[in-house]
C-alpha cells in the first residue's frame, strides 16, 4: 500500500439521471499535493465521497494506494484520513474522548489511544478545550478537532474537502500551515478540494480544474498559466457605464472579455501588440480608462477562461 491515487473514467449518475461526475480521470503520485479546484456543484464533493468509500461510483476504476476501492473498501479505510465538508462531531463527548474513541476504532490499545489523543490535542492547539463537550466549540475549534480526528492513524493519504470554507483568516492560516507540514515533512499525499484559487495556488503542486462534472484543465500552477497563453489586459474606468460601453466597443478585440462594474478584462494572445489599437478604439469613443495594465494571467484568469470556454461549447 503506497500513497498514490489513480482514477480512471469515473462516472457518477444519481437517480433521475443527474450526472454529478461525467468521466473524470487523474493520477496523484505518492507525496504529491494535488488540488481539485471548482465552483459549488462542480462534482468535487461527490468525487471525494467516492474516493473515500462513502459512495459507490456508477462506473470507473479507482485505486487508492494500489487498492481497488470497490473491491476492498475496508483496506482503503485503514490508510486514508478524510475531513469532510460538513464536520460531523458528537456534541456530547469531549474533544479528548472523541479522539480516543477514533483511535480505538483504528486498533489502538487504550493506553496508546490516550497517548495519541494528548499528542494530537497539542498539535491542533486544543489542550485548553480538551475536557469540554465539542458541542460548545467554535467553528474554528471544530475544524481543528476534525483535522486531529483525521490524523489519528497517521494516514498515508489525506482527503480534505474544502477544509477552510467558512473559516476566519487566522484559523485558515493555521490549517494551511499544518497540511503543508504534513505534506513536506511526513510525505503525506494530499488531495484537497477548494473553491478558493488562492488556496490551490498557495498549497498545491498540481491542480485540476473541475466544472460541471468534468476536468477542464490540469497541470502545475505555472503550467496552467502558461498553457493558457494569454495575457490579461485590465482596464479600470471611472464609471460602470463607461466600462459597459467599452466592453461593447472592444468586443471583437480579444478572445474573451469580462466586465464587473468599472472593470473590463480582455484576454488576448498578445497583449502588448494589441495595446495601441485598443487605445485608438477607446479614443474614438472618447473613453479614457483610469488605469490600464497588461499582466500575465493569474489563476483566477485561468479559471474564468476555462469555465467560459466550456459554456461556449454547450
Amino acid at each position: 500500500m503506497d500513497g498514490s491515487i489513480l482514477v480512471h473514467d469515473l462516472v457518477k449518475t444519481y437517480k433521475g439521471d443527474v450526472k454529478a461526475v461525467r468521466g473524470v480521470s487523474f493520477e496523484v503520485a505518492e507525496g504529491e499535493f494535488f488540488a481539485f479546484l471548482g465552483p459549488n456543484g462542480a462534482g468535487k464533493s461527490t468525487t471525494v465521497q467516492i474516493l473515500t468509500t462513502l459512495v459507490k461510483p456508477t462506473s470507473g476504476t479507482i485505486q487508492i494506494g494500489g487498492v481497488n476501492v470497490n473491491e476492498q473498501p475496508e483496506r482503503v479505510r485503514w490508510n486514508i484520513g478524510v475531513a469532510l465538508q460538513e464536520t460531523g462531531i458528537d456534541p456530547v463527548l469531549t474533544g479528548r474522548e472523541l479522539i480516543e474513541m477514533q483511535a480505538r476504532l483504528f486498533g489502538f490499545t487504550k493506553k496508546k489511544a490516550k497517548e495519541r489523543a494528548s499528542e494530537l490535542l497539542t498539535l491542533v492547539d486544543l489542550n485548553d478545550a480538551a475536557e469540554r463537550p465539542c458541542g460548545k466549540y467554535s467553528g474554528g475549534m471544530r475544524r481543528r478537532l476534525d483535522l486531529a480526528l483525521t490524523l489519528v492513524h497517521k494516514p498515508k493519504i489525506l482527503f480534505l474537502d474544502e477544509p477552510t470554507t467558512g473559516l476566519d483568516p487566522s484559523n485558515r492560516k493555521a490549517i494551511w500551515k499544518e497540511i503543508k507540514r504534513l505534506n513536506k515533512e511526513e510525505g503525506t499525499t494530499i488531495f484537497l478540494t477548494t473553491q478558493y484559487l488562492e488556496e490551490a495556488d498557495q498549497l498545491a503542486d498540481r491542480i485540476s480544474i473541475i466544472n460541471e462534472g468534468r476536468i477542464v484543465a490540469s497541470g502545475s500552477v505555472e503550467e496552467l498559466k502558461r498553457t493558457l497563453g494569454f495575457d490579461a489586459i485590465q482596464l479600470v474606468f471611472h464609471e460602470p457605464e463607461e466600462a459597459e460601453r467599452a466592453s461593447v466597443v472592444l468586443n471583437d478585440v480579444g478572445e474573451n472579455i469580462e466586465r464587473s462594474r468599472e472593470e473590463v478584462t480582455i484576454y488576448t494572445e498578445n497583449g502588448t501588440q494589441l495595446l495601441s489599437e485598443l487605445v485608438r478604439m477607446l479614443d474614438e469613443q472618447q473613453l479614457s480608462p483610469k488605469t490600464l495594465n497588461v499582466k500575465p494571467p493569474s489563476l483566477d484568469d485561468v479559471f474564468i477562461n476555462v469555465t467560459n470556454k466550456q459554456k461556449e461549447r454547450v
Partner: protein, 263 residues
C-alpha cells in the same frame, strides 16, 4: 502499523456501546420522562382502577400485578426507541459518516446504541419492579418469575429497538423517526391493557387485542405474577417475541446495509 490493522468486532462494539452509555448518562432527559410516564401509569391506574379487580373475571388477582406489565412494557418501548433516536442524531449532524470512514465493523456501529438501550431498559425495569415490590407486589412464580419478566422485557425491547433503528436509518431525520414511535399507542392500548379479554366490550377491540403481539406479552408476564408457572402463556409470549425480533432485526439489518453503502 501493521499489527494495528486487525479490526476487532468485539472492541468496536464495546467502544460504540460505551459511547452510547456516556451519551445517555449525560442527557438524563433521554430516559427520565420515559421512566416518569411508566411510573405514572403504574400509580394512576393502580390508584384509580384497582377496584375493578373485585370482578369475577379477575379471579381474585391483585390489580397491581395485572397493571404492572403495562408499565414495564411502556418503559421498554421508550428505552428501546432511544437506539433509533441516537442513530438519527448521528446521521443528522454528520458524525455517522465519520464513523463509516473508520475501518470499524458496520454492524457494531448499529449494535452499540441497541446494547446501550437494552441496558437502560434493564435498569428501568428493575427499578419499576422494586417500586412495585414496595407497593405490595407478590410474584407467584417467585424469583424465577422475575427473571422471566426481565427476559420477556429484553426480548420485547430488542424487537422494538430493531424497529426504531430500521426506521431511523431509512428516514434519516428526527421528525420521521419520532413519528415512527407512535406505534407505541396502538401497541399498548389496543390490548388487554386494563381488563382481561373477557371484559373487553367492543368487538373491534377484541379483534385488535387478538392480533396485537403485546397482548401475548402482557399475558405471559401476568401469568408469572399472578398464577405461577403456567407453560402456555410463556410459550406463546416467547414465540411472539422471537417472531417479532426476527422481523424487526431483519428490517433494521437491511436498512443498515442500505444506509452504509449509499448508491
Amino acid at each position: 502499523m501493521d499489527e494495528q490493522k486487525k479490526g476487532s468486532f468485539l472492541v468496536d462494539t464495546m467502544v460504540f456501546t460505551k459511547r452510547s452509555i456516556i451519551t445517555i448518562i449525560r442527557n438524563p432527559l433521554i430516559f427520565i420522562p420515559n421512566l416518569i410516564i411508566s411510573l405514572f401509569f403504574l400509580f394512576v391506574y393502580e390508584g384509580g382502577l384497582s377496584g375493578i379487580s373485585q370482578l369475577p373475571a379477575f379471579e381474585g388477582a391483585n390489580y397491581l400485578a395485572f397493571i404492572l406489565p403495562v408499565s414495564i412494557v411502556s418503559a421498554a418501548i421508550g428505552g428501546a426507541g432511544g437506539a433509533g433516536q441516537a442513530l438519527v442524531k448521528d446521521l443528522e449532524n454528520g458524525y455517522f459518516s465519520r464513523l463509516l470512514l473508520t475501518p470499524s465493523s458496520r454492524l457494531a456501529i448499529v449494535l452499540g446504541p441497541i446494547i446501550a438501550g437494552m441496558l437502560q431498559l434493564l435498569i428501568q425495569t428493575i427499578l419499576i419492579l422494586v417500586i412495585a415490590y414496595f407497593l405490595g407486589l407478590e410474584v407467584a412464580a417467585g424469583f424465577g418469575g422475575v427473571v422471566v419478566v426481565l427476559l420477556l422485557t429484553l426480548g420485547w425491547g430488542l424487537a422494538f429497538a430493531g424497529y426504531s433503528v430500521g426506521v431511523a436509518l431509512r428516514t434519516k431525520n428526527a421528525q420521521s423517526a419520532q413519528a415512527g414511535t407512535f406505534v407505541f399507542f396502538p401497541l399498548i392500548f389496543l390490548s388487554t391493557t386494563f381488563v382481561p379479554y373477557e371484559l373487553i366490550e367492543a368487538g373491534w377491540l377484541k379483534i385488535a387485542a387478538t392480533i396485537n403481539p403485546t397482548t401475548y406479552l402482557f399475558e405471559a408476564m401476568r401469568s408469572v405474577f399472578i398464577d405461577g408457572w403456567e407453560p402456555w402463556p410463556l410459550v406463546r409470549g416467547f414465540l411472539v417475541i422471537a417472531l417479532l425480533c426476527a422481523i424487526t432485526i431483519t428490517f433494521s439489518a437491511v436498512s443498515a446495509s442500505k444506509a452504509v453503502s449509499s448508491d
